[in-house]
């Protein structure tokens, strides 16, 4: 049903409503709706409006720069890009198996990021919708409102995020855009002091994470919308360890369909291209990935916390595994399809990360100093990890001069592109259709997008439309840049004019 709302039959006759910019999400995007005189929704789309061109401008750079360069894709999950690129570069230098210390340091770094990113999303960005209601006053519906009305919760969020950031800093030197991965390993050992400082707090952090799972579950229980809001069937995908347990850092690819049946399992991620292709649509810079065997129409899937909880057979930490079982029981052992269940799954993962941090800090290998290894050079490398928002693919080709000649990135949020559009359409159809639009109703759409914790910043790594005419005027009134008509001869001024005939 929702698929019908992707493209309106007669767009010219309709009224356009835009939610722009999307807020309390990371990055730049907007949602547009096309409505008729009775406010019936005919079209709903989530657009990614920025383009950066990483895949192109990275070409010509030496491969060892890549892990540091690409993390500038995203300041919310820079560690994810750093690690995925790091793994790809390991392949280039033939380091199929890095040293135990290097691998454990990377896993620790990754869990630090999982913790800070999930805390940020739940406490700073998403909780206001659940605490105050989807259509509460916008002045109140933000972290500042949470600070005022639920100070204890706000402080928890700040402290959990801080701890995750401190784990990152201990390993990578900086909280944001540090450096840790070098080809074949890591650039710095963890000192005893650094370990001890972090270890002192883990009991407290784990307890707070347990409480966060409970708070989130209670909020969802109380939320009248939860059982019906943005519920739709889909396929799911994530990395999985050989024994079927969840693994954020490494493993094979598993996909399940809406009923839970396996589509592919333990697939070698270096051959991701045999399983996944990406479709381009004219109205978004973010491509639409799909499972090749199922085709563009039916092959799209969800990734991220919800997908991971649905996909894996177990979690290897005690408290989080207990919570996972409750999560699965709530869906009667089947697939959990509710958009808002993303939050619940996210908090379980945060707990899982916290427990994992404690375990790694207790592992003697974490203080080792054997950090780098290498083997036979190759000209192609693929690195895949489970980033906070889902499966992240980095793929590079280099030449004999060690220079990057091709790059392909499929970021987590891109994997969720079709699913987020489905969520927008499902919510538009069930809440907005035929209603007088209010700020609060429009926020329902954003609540649905927000649940995916989309990182639209990551998703803009690719670039956009040939510009027609834009003048860039400097502070003194001088034109410093002018762009002229595009190849199609169409004229546009600085703000887009709306010619819906040019749709797909």
């Amino acid at each position: 049903m929702t698929r019908l709302l992707e493209t309106a039959a007669h767009p010219r006759t309709l009224r356009r409503v835009a939610i722009e910019p999307l807020t309390r999400v990371e990055g730049h995007g907007k949602v547009t709706l096309l409505l008729d005189d009775q406010n019936r929704v005919h079209q709903a789309r989530l657009h990614i409006v920025e383009f950066r061109g990483f895949e192109k401008f990275i070409q010509g750079r030496p491969y060892w720069e890549v892990p540091v360069l690409v993390q500038r894709l995203c300041g919310i999950c820079p560690v994810s890009h750093h690690l995925a690129a790091g793994k790809a570069v390991d392949m280039l230098v033939g380091a199929r198996q890095i040293t135990p210390t290097a691998e454990k340091l990377r896993r620790l770094l990754h869990k630090g990021q999982m913790l800070q990113s999930h805390a940020l999303h739940f406490f700073h960005l998403a909780s206001p919708d659940l605490l105050f209601g989807f259509d509460s006053e916008p002045e109140r519906r933000n972290i500042i409102g949470v600070v005022r009305e639920h100070p204890e919760l706000a402080v928890r969020g700040v402290m959990l995020r801080k701890y995750g950031q401190e784990v990152i800093k201990a390993i990578a030197g900086k909280r944001i855009h540090g450096t840790a991965c070098v080809p074949g390993g890591m650039n710095k050992a963890l000192t005893v002091d650094e370990r001890d400082v972090l270890r002192r707090e883990t009991t407290q952090i784990i307890r707070w994470c347990q409480e966060a799972v409970r708070v989130c579950r209670d909020l969802l229980d109380k939320c009248e919308h939860a059982p019906i809001f943005g519920v739709f069937p889909s396929n799911f995908m994530s990395l999985i360890r050989a024994d079927g347990a969840l693994d954020f850092y490494d493993g094979g690819l598993r996909a399940r369909d809406a009923s839970g049946a396996i589509i592919f399992d333990h697939a070698d991620y270096t051959r991701y291209n045999r399983h996944i292709h990406e479709e381009v649509k004219s109205w978004s810079y973010m491509k639409f990935p799909f499972i090749i065997n199922l085709g563009e129409e039916d092959g799209w899937y969800r990734v991220g916390p919800l997908a991971r909880m649905n996909i894996c057979d177990s979690l290897d930490t005690v408290f989080a595994e207990h919570e996972r079982k409750l999560f699965r029981e709530a869906a009667n052992g089947g697939m959990q399809h509710a958009t808002l269940a993303y939050h619940w799954a996210r908090m379980i993962e945060m707990l899982h990360a916290a427990e994992g941090i404690e375990r790694l800090l207790d592992d003697p290998d974490i203080l080792g100093t054997d950090l780098v290894t290498k083997g036979e050079r190759s000209l192609e490398g693929v690195g895949v990890i489970e980033a906070p928002r889902g499966t992240l693919f980095h793929h590079y080709k280099v030449d004999e001069n060690d220079v990057v000649v091709r790059a392909n990135l499929i970021v987590s949020t891109t994997n969720n592109n079709q699913a987020m559009n489905e969520a927008v359409r499902t919510v538009a159809a069930s809440y907005l259709d035929g209603q007088r639009l209010t700020e609060g109703l429009l926020n329902h759409i954003e609540v649905a997008v927000r649940a995916f914790d989309p990182c639209l910043s990551c998703a803009t790594h690719a670039l956009g439309k040939m510009p027609l005419q834009v003048e860039l005027v400097d502070a003194g009134g001088t034109v410093v840049d002018r762009l002229v008509k595009g190849a199609d001869g169409q004229f546009c001024d600085a703000l887009p004019t709306f010619n819906y005939d040019s749709g797909p």
Partner: protein, 180 residues
């Protein structure tokens, strides 16, 4: 106490790392909220600045028509405009595309990309027009203060903000002046 200062923030062609670094002031965030109110910012749902705000923080450079519009709006509505981070100061990593043609960048992603289906360059009117180069903020508007770093550290941002909200002139001590 005099009425609270107002702060607005936005991210243009940036990675949100500078905003994240602002959140890295951790507990001091609570202190900041005592001293100032937030107007438009990605952390709340205010989508346009209403009236005039005291301090505008802008992350990221200019890459499309929409970023230019937002920057000009910020300049008109902020008493003090602060350019935050490498991307805002110089264009940053996204400006690595400046020596290439926009067309070649677009083709790489949407036509030549691995496993691309329905290959074409997105061209819907809803997508803002791209500039052929990425520009720093000061080439288009007057900027009052610059905070370097990728991102500037939380301490540096705190130093600047706490000075501005209490009406002092911010001067970064050398220890906080970092460019990486």
């Amino acid at each position: 106490m005099a009425s609270k200062r107002k702060i607005a923030t936005c991210s243009l062609a940036g990675c949100f790392g500078c905003h994240m670094s602002l959140l890295d002031i951790d507990e001091r965030l609570l202190e900041l909220l005592e001293l100032a109110d937030f107007d438009r910012s990605p952390i709340n749902d205010i989508k346009e600045i209403k009236g005039i705000v005291d301090i505008g923080l802008v992350e990221g450079g200019l890459c499309n028509a929409e970023t230019v519009r937002v920057l000009q709006h910020f300049r008109e509505h902020c008493r003090v405009l602060v350019s935050v981070g490498e991307c805002a100061l110089t264009g940053g990593i996204p400006s690595m595309r400046n020596h290439l043609s926009l067309k070649s960048c677009l083709e790489e992603s949407y036509i030549r990309g691995v496993g691309v289906e329905n290959a074409h360059i997105p061209d819907d009117p809803e997508l803002p027009l791209l500039l052929d180069k990425v520009y720093p903020l000061h080439e288009v508007v007057k900027v009052d203060y610059y905070v370097p770093g990728c991102p500037p550290s939380a301490d540096a941002l705190w130093h600047v903000l706490s000075a501005l909200v209490t009406g002092r002139d911010p001067h970064l001590p050398p220890a906080l002046l970092k460019y990486d």
